[in-house]
């Protein structure tokens, strides 16, 4: 009975955030557009030498994905904080960490998933070999949820500040660095035709860790921010 109503609250909150995203389409497209623009400007800036592009491609795509995620992070809690609905989430009779997970999942579906869908195209644009594009997609599947999950902790900590944007970047970027290193290196390694199981295991471990710990940390951070 109790878990039933929790599932319902989870589903409804997810649906609510997706509905709101559809009603604010422009904000939803912004990070995706940023991702595409940054990646496609690189060949213009550094020249169209295929070997050079292949060498920097994985790093460029991952850095762009990371910055695109950072750009959209504030949206997870900012508007809820301003209109008071965040207070209502904290005062719900359900565990806040589960509700937080619904919001993070919505954020990933809105900003992470579109990046995932266009990334093979950008891989082709940068001349990555097919094997590398496959691994790129796999690292993004495992990695973009980590971006949303870790980012949520940072946003939760800074949402009470009037100009939290700068602190948010400083807070969250160091946490993203391990993921960036392993992911970009995995794609490089795959492009060289070597096995990448170790990289993928490490990224999966990061995902499991973020999935299990960050909702709790986010819930605690929200309590601090609102009190």
């Amino acid at each position: 009975m109790k878990s039933d109503s929790l599932t319902r609250a989870f589903a409804l909150l997810l649906k609510r955030d997706l509905t709101l995203a559809v009603r604010h389409r422009a904000e939803m497209i912004n990070p995706l557009l940023f991702f595409i623009l940054v990646t496609s400007l690189f060949p213009l800036g550094i020249g169209a030498d295929p070997r050079l592009l292949q060498a920097v491609g994985p790093g460029v795509i991952w850095v762009a994905a990371l910055l695109a995620a950072l750009l959209s992070l504030e949206g997870i809690f900012r508007s809820d904080f301003e209109d008071g609905t965040l207070e209502q989430l904290l005062l719900s009779s359900h565990p806040v960490s589960v509700l937080v997970l619904a919001k993070v999942l919505a954020h990933w579906l809105i900003t992470g998933l579109p990046l995932l869908l266009v990334s093979p195209l950008l891989g082709v644009l940068l001349g990555l070999p097919a094997a590398a594009i496959q691994i790129l997609l796999l690292t993004l599947v495992l990695g973009t949820p980590v971006l949303s999950l870790l980012g949520a902790v940072g946003v939760a900590l800074t949402v009470g500040l009037r100009k939290g944007g700068m602190i948010l970047s400083l807070l969250v970027l160091p946490l993203y660095v391990p993921l960036l290193i392993f992911a970009a290196n995995a794609v490089d390694t795959a492009a060289a035709g070597l096995p990448v199981t170790a990289h993928l295991s490490l990224i999966s471990a990061l995902l499991v860790l973020a999935l299990s710990l960050s909702p709790l940390a986010t819930a605690a951070a929200l309590r601090i921010s609102l009190s």
Partner: protein, 212 residues
């Protein structure tokens, strides 16, 4: 309703103190609230009424003292306390880009749902006919009534209301006063701040003046 006639529920505050920006807003504050009673907080702007309500909700921690619900500290109870409470703060806590129905459905899912239909609740606050309009397009008074309608979609005992009458017209005030009296008559509890004099006819009212 289940809570009718149940006199074991109590909200008790002991030795509460709130400090803000090095100023002591109130200290050694104590009261005890039982079913059917209302707590009316009075005081000047900035005297700590909202802070006290946020402490009673469990959003803010008191700088000293404790708030207990049926004998247990509310911050230890967490969700087990929150399922008995509903809070309408000075921010409405509704999404402007959702319709009133969508807003109420969300509010209901976050608490312990009761049996009334959402349409009936909208009718009670005179918002029937607006259920599919985006909340953004409602007037300030209508938004406030929608915020107060959140109280009616879940089964709660303690209503914590921060200036519930803001932006309401004479008729709206009457409707809300009636809702509050019905709630205490059913054995509910109220903690309210208001600049508007509240006329309770049948409810035991405790007044606390924070500027004193």
């Amino acid at each position: 309703m289940k809570q009718t006639g149940n006199h074991t529920l109590t909200l008790e505050a002991r030795g509460l103190e709130c400090i803000r920006d090095d100023r002591v807003l109130f200290s050694e504050l104590a009261f005890r609230l039982e079913p059917g009673q209302a707590l009316l907080l009075e005081g000047r702007n900035g005297s700590g009424k909202t802070s006290l309500l946020r402490i009673l909700c469990g959003i803010r921690l008191p700088d000293a003292g404790s708030v207990t619900w049926c004998g247990s500290d509310i911050n230890r109870l967490g969700p087990d306390y929150h399922e008995h409470t509903a809070y309408v703060g000075h921010r409405d806590g509704i999404k402007l880009d959702l319709t009133p129905l969508e807003n109420l459905a969300m509010a209901r899912a976050l608490g312990k749902p009761n049996e009334t239909t959402l349409e009936a609740v909208l009718e009670q606050v005179d918002l029937y006919g607006f259920e599919d309009v985006l909340t953004r397009n409602l007037s300030a008074g209508q938004k406030r009534r929608l915020a107060l309608a959140r109280l009616l979609v879940t089964d709660t005992v303690l209503w914590i209301l921060d200036e519930p009458f803001t932006s309401l017209d004479v008729h709206g005030i009457q409707v809300v006063e009636q809702l509050l009296e019905q709630h205490t008559a059913r054995g509910g509890m109220l903690a309210v701040t208001s600049h508007h004099p509240v006329n309770f006819k049948h409810t035991t009212v405790q007044r606390i003046d924070l500027s004193a």
